[in-house]
């Protein structure tokens, strides 16, 4: 790709970027949120048309790509967001728009199912190709998405943050496959915000910042520190994170024998004032449902939740919020963003449902609330009246944080709070979280990223198959140990 | 037509074509308005609408434009009363056609005589089934047009004269549609008990199209029971239904239609022109209805009512 330019209205998303991938190489593409990585790849995948610049494939110019042309040229694209059709079966999704047909029109389902099975076997996965995609979990959906790329003959696979929803084991599986592909001469472009992954799997790197090309080279020649500096453009000392211990003795929030049939059972824990507890585990451990139960978004079948000693009224989410529990849900796009609303209203929404008295809304107060929150969480936005969808991912997440921080709750439940946001934004969010506990709030984080847990948690609870398997204090935390209990290895022997 | 500002100005306001009868009436009215107004050198406005809100707006508009006469076919007589009052309040002569506005001082009215149609039909049924009625109850079916005032009047008229020995086994609302009536009849024949199906001797409908649907269903019946329907009635002696009189008589089914010609609206337009010509117009002009059965349909087809109706097609 040579001298690629692309603008969206006022935003110059990609500026004069040149980029090349050789044969049999895994090429890491790095950059902050909004650096233009996905845009550049969308151009290569034929989804977007560049404003100017050329694309060469095997030395031949192919500058007017469409998704169909790109796939004919052997380019496969795993998109950043899941792009599966929930109401079709797994194999139908895999072959969507590439169906195998008999005698011109008749779908050859047997063959498609057979080949789907083959590809799952190759990926070391146990997914039944004849179930509906809607019945799969996020992580398996992501794996189906990956399988779709592996199904056909190809030369180059673009993977745009393929591992955000995957567990470590699944990631290892993926890497094994990628290495296998490389040995067959197939190349990969790999986009991720997770440094360790990049260093593990990629041969070459290219860094983008603000839509511009910064540098490229071999991963062997740099370390994580250098890479981070390149992509941020300034110096972040990642490891020195001043987490002060401000845990007090008073128990604020308590779950006793909490169960939700089919998902988790007998979960008990006590959260103290100023404490951060992290919950972690693997796919199917029931964490997601647990977080929903704690917030009243899902009915627990058994057990009690207490807040400041009194039983929490979980009849409605509104009553939970009013009692002093807030939650930042996972999957921002699906569960948090109100896409047709401006930033100001997105921030105010939880305030309205829990704290606001009367029915009248004063725009003036809303603007003031926006201004306070913008300062507190350092949101970078053109103005309070712009749609929230005009913001970059990290800033959207900060808006969602603001929605809840303004409520002055006692307990904050954060479900996967840093999904898909870059190093810099992550850092700021960690700061926000620690500021909360400094103010005497308590926090429960649900996360599958160990570095994150390591940075902020006072205690870490590891779940396995819907039960608490092990609890670590901050001092005992160790990635290998956590994995040991998360996989339930202790129960096997 | 007719933008000549000095010329006298006639407004004709009608409902839009919701069923066949109205469709034909609009055609006649539009033709007559154009022809008569141009012959006499008047300007005119011809308006249709599909609900009373729009119709009353049209009234406001023509009153504001300073109409010299308004010919109004109200959507529903009573619902338009209030709006029609504004015409009289503006001292504009008003001719009301077809629908009755109760307690109202219009210049002239030509109400469709739906009560009489119903009454005559009741009498005809009494005569036709004289011997059967003497023997006991006679079972019939009723197919209504819709639920508005016109079919109400036809029904009420019928039951005011019909013998008390007539029993309605079932009634249907057809929305003036032939296909609906036919399917309803077929469904009746195939879903009711033998006793009920075989007991039906007469069918009273509100419209020729509806009657045609019922007859088609009877003709097409191939079930196991014996049908005993002898008489089917309707309103509006249309070319199509008259063409089938012999066809069905051969199958043992008689028909009786009460003529109600869509061309009669022309009379109302003529009255409007008369007003503009300075003639004295007032009072009530009943729209004539004629009984047409197997005995007289051929003469009817030679008569003036019939030929006027089909003069423009």
């Amino acid at each position: 790709m040579k001298n690629i330019h692309k603008s969206f209205g006022a935003v110059h998303a990609v500026r004069d970027v040149s980029f090349s991938v050789g044969e049999a190489e895994i090429h890491g593409l790095l950059g902050e949120n909004g650096a233009g990585k996905s845009t550049l790849m969308n151009i290569l995948g034929g989804i977007l048309r560049q404003d100017s610049g050329q694309i060469y494939i095997d030395g031949e110019e192919h500058s007017h790509l469409t998704p169909v042309k790109a796939s004919r040229l052997g380019i496969r694209f795993i998109h950043q967001e899941l792009n599966l059709v929930n109401d079709l079966k797994v194999y139908e999704n895999l072959f969507l728009n590439n169906e195998i047909v008999k005698s011109g029109i008749h779908l050859n389902r047997k063959e498609m199912i057979r080949r789907s099975r083959e590809v799952f076997e190759r990926m070391n996965l146990d997914i039944d190709p004849t179930v509906f995609v809607r019945e799969l979990d996020t992580s398996r959906k992501q794996l189906v998405e990956i399988a779709r790329a592996l199904l056909f003959e190809c030369r180059l696979i673009i993977m745009d943050e393929p591992t955000t929803a995957l567990t470590n084991e699944e990631i290892d599986n993926l890497f094994t496959i990628m290495r296998g592909l490389r040995d067959e001469g197939i190349s990969c472009i790999y986009i991720s915000h997770k440094m360790p992954e990049l260093f593990e799997i990629c041969d070459k790197y290219t860094v983008m910042r603000d839509g511009a090309y910064i540098a490229s080279g071999n991963f062997a020649d740099i370390n994580e520190q250098q890479a981070t500096e390149m992509l941020v453009g300034r110096n972040i000392d990642d490891d020195v994170f001043d987490k002060t211990d401000c845990v007090q003795d008073e128990v604020v929030f308590e779950a006793e024998n909490l169960s939700c049939e089919g998902y988790f059972s007998n979960v008990s824990f006590k959260l103290r004032k100023g404490e951060i507890i992290a919950f972690t585990g693997l796919f199917g451990d029931g964490r997601g449902e647990l977080s929903e139960c704690l917030f009243g978004a899902r009915k627990a079948t058994d057990g009690v939740i207490r807040l400041n000693g009194d039983e929490l009224n979980t009849k409605s989410i509104a009553s939970v919020i009013r009692s002093g529990v807030s939650m930042v849900p996972r999957n921002r796009k699906e569960r948090s963003i109100i896409k047709d609303m401006n930033i100001r209203d997105n921030i105010s929404m939880a305030y309205f449902t829990s704290r606001h008295k009367g029915i009248h809304i004063s725009p003036k107060k809303e603007y003031r609330r926006y201004e306070e929150n913008r300062k507190a969480t350092n949101i970078k936005a053109a103005g309070p009246d712009h749609l929230i969808t005009s913001l970059s991912g990290g800033n959207q997440q900060k808006v969602i944080f603001s929605r809840w921080f303004g409520l002055d709750s006692d307990v904050y439940i954060l479900d996967n709070p840093t999904q898909g946001i870059d190093v810099g934004a992550k850092f700021e969010i960690y700061q926000l979280i620690t500021r909360l506990v400094d103010q005497g709030k308590s926090v429960i984080v649900f996360s599958s990223e160990f570095p994150e847990i390591h940075k902020i948690a006072d205690r870490c609870i590891v779940m396995y198959k819907g039960e608490i398997n092990k609890e670590f204090t901050r001092k005992e935390l160790d990635e290998v140990e956590v994995m040991y209990y998360a996989t339930g290895s202790n129960k096997r022997s | 037509g007719g933008q000549d500002d000095d010329a006298k100005f006639m407004a004709v306001i009608m409902p839009s074509a919701t069923h066949g009868f109205l469709g034909e009436s609009i055609k006649h009215a539009e033709n007559a308005t154009k022809k008569l107004a141009e012959e006499n050198g008047y300007s005119y406005q011809f308006l249709t609408s599909d609900d009373i809100v729009k119709q009353s707006n049209q009234i406001d508009t023509v009153v504001a434009r300073g109409a010299d006469v308004v010919v109004l076919w109200p959507f529903n007589g009573d619902e338009l009363k209030s709006a029609a009052q504004t015409i009289l309040d503006a001292d504009i002569p008003l001719i009301v056609y077809d629908r009755l506005i109760s307690n109202f001082n219009q210049t002239a009215e030509l109400p469709g005589d739906n009560d009489t149609i119903g009454e005559e039909m009741g009498n005809y049924f009494n005569d036709y089934f004289k011997s059967e009625l003497a023997a006991g109850p006679v079972n019939i079916l009723e197919f209504k047009g819709d639920n508005s005032s016109v079919p109400m009047q036809r029904s009420n008229g019928f039951w005011s004269t019909a013998d008390s020995n007539f029993v309605v086994v079932n009634e249907f609302v057809t929305n003036w549609s032939k296909d609906t009536a036919q399917i309803q009849m077929e469904t009746f024949l195939s879903s009711n008990t033998k006793a009920q199906v075989e007991s039906i001797q007469g069918i009273f409908t509100h419209d020729a199209e509806v009657a045609a649907g019922v007859l088609a269903a009877l003709e097409g019946y191939d079930g196991a029971y014996d049908l005993n329907v002898k008489l089917v009635s309707g309103v509006s002696a249309s070319r199509e239904i008259l063409g089938l009189y012999d066809h069905y008589q051969a199958q043992g089914i008689d028909q009786v239609m009460f003529s109600f010609s869509p061309a009669m609206v022309v009379d109302a337009i003529q009255l409007g022109i008369d007003v503009l010509n300075g003639k004295e117009v007032s009072g009530r002009y009943l729209v004539e209805t004629e009984m047409v059965d197997n005995s007289n349909y051929k003469e009817f087809m030679k008569g003036p009512v019939y030929s006027l109706r089909y003069s423009i097609y």
């Binding site: 699906e334 209203d345 | 839009s16 609900d51 049209q58 338009l80």
Partner: protein
Amino acid sequence: MSTSLELSMNKKSKGFDFKRFIINHNYILSLILMLLIGRIASDQFLSFPSLMNLMRSSVFIGIIALGMSLVIISGNIDLSVGSILALSAAIGVVVFNTTQNMLLTLVMCMFLGALMGFFNGIFVGVAKVASFIVTLATLTAFRSITIQFGDGGPQIVNHEIYFDTLRKLGYGKLGPFPYLVLIFVGITCAVWYLMNRTKFGRYVYAVGSNEKAARLTGIKVEYIKVMIFTITGLLTGIAAFLYIARFGSVDVATAGKGFELDVIAAVAIGGTSMAGGRGFIQGSFFGAIILFAIDAILSAFQVPAFVTDFIKGVLILGAVLLQKALDRNAE
């Protein structure tokens, strides 16, 4: 990152954005266009009384369209409004004939409308049946009750009393302004306030935009949906009362029949997205007026009877296409 943000900030002009305004509120453009076209046909078209007439005829569709906007913004549809109007009005007539009390009649119409709306709301919000199907069924069922109630015949307000009371409301004016128009404007302002300056309004937008997210911020989505349909019913009840005032009788079979299509067309012309989440109350106000302006134009141009509906269909499509075209241009 900071530089790219600044970049994007520079391009978004602050303060009043005229182009954006016209794109969002293009119904104003459509209205002006219609009025100008009408002016060509008749010099009377733009006169004040003529405009008042136009607005007065759009009152019924318009008031219901205000409610329908809530329904559509929340991602639903209500096909039963015509039948709700008929039943409320039919019973309203009986109440008025019995009590001769206008206020009581109004209250009764509003109550009945709200009750029927509530019924729709329960099925949509709580039983979670698609609103299209629920209101398709109640469209039929409410009408059937109305006809049964009126025994098939029209319900007529007592003649003498009508002319002394209700008709004054339906035809009277305050200075140059018909009462009906003033009421319409008043209710529009009230609903505008509800949707733009109260929590409830925000919830309606939120539910229409992202129901799951709305639920997770503590909004009681079921309750909001029930409320939306109830409010629409209530507004339809008010329209029913004004209907009695203006027409003095209610034909149980035809009153309000097909209103739902006009109402939805008005909302769409007013720029509310059929997909939910976006829309302006004032748009529906103007949408209703545009709809009747189309009728008025067709009258003014003396379009042949059978062709009017054709042109009307084309103009509705045109108004919505204009919106789309402007919207696309903006990108």
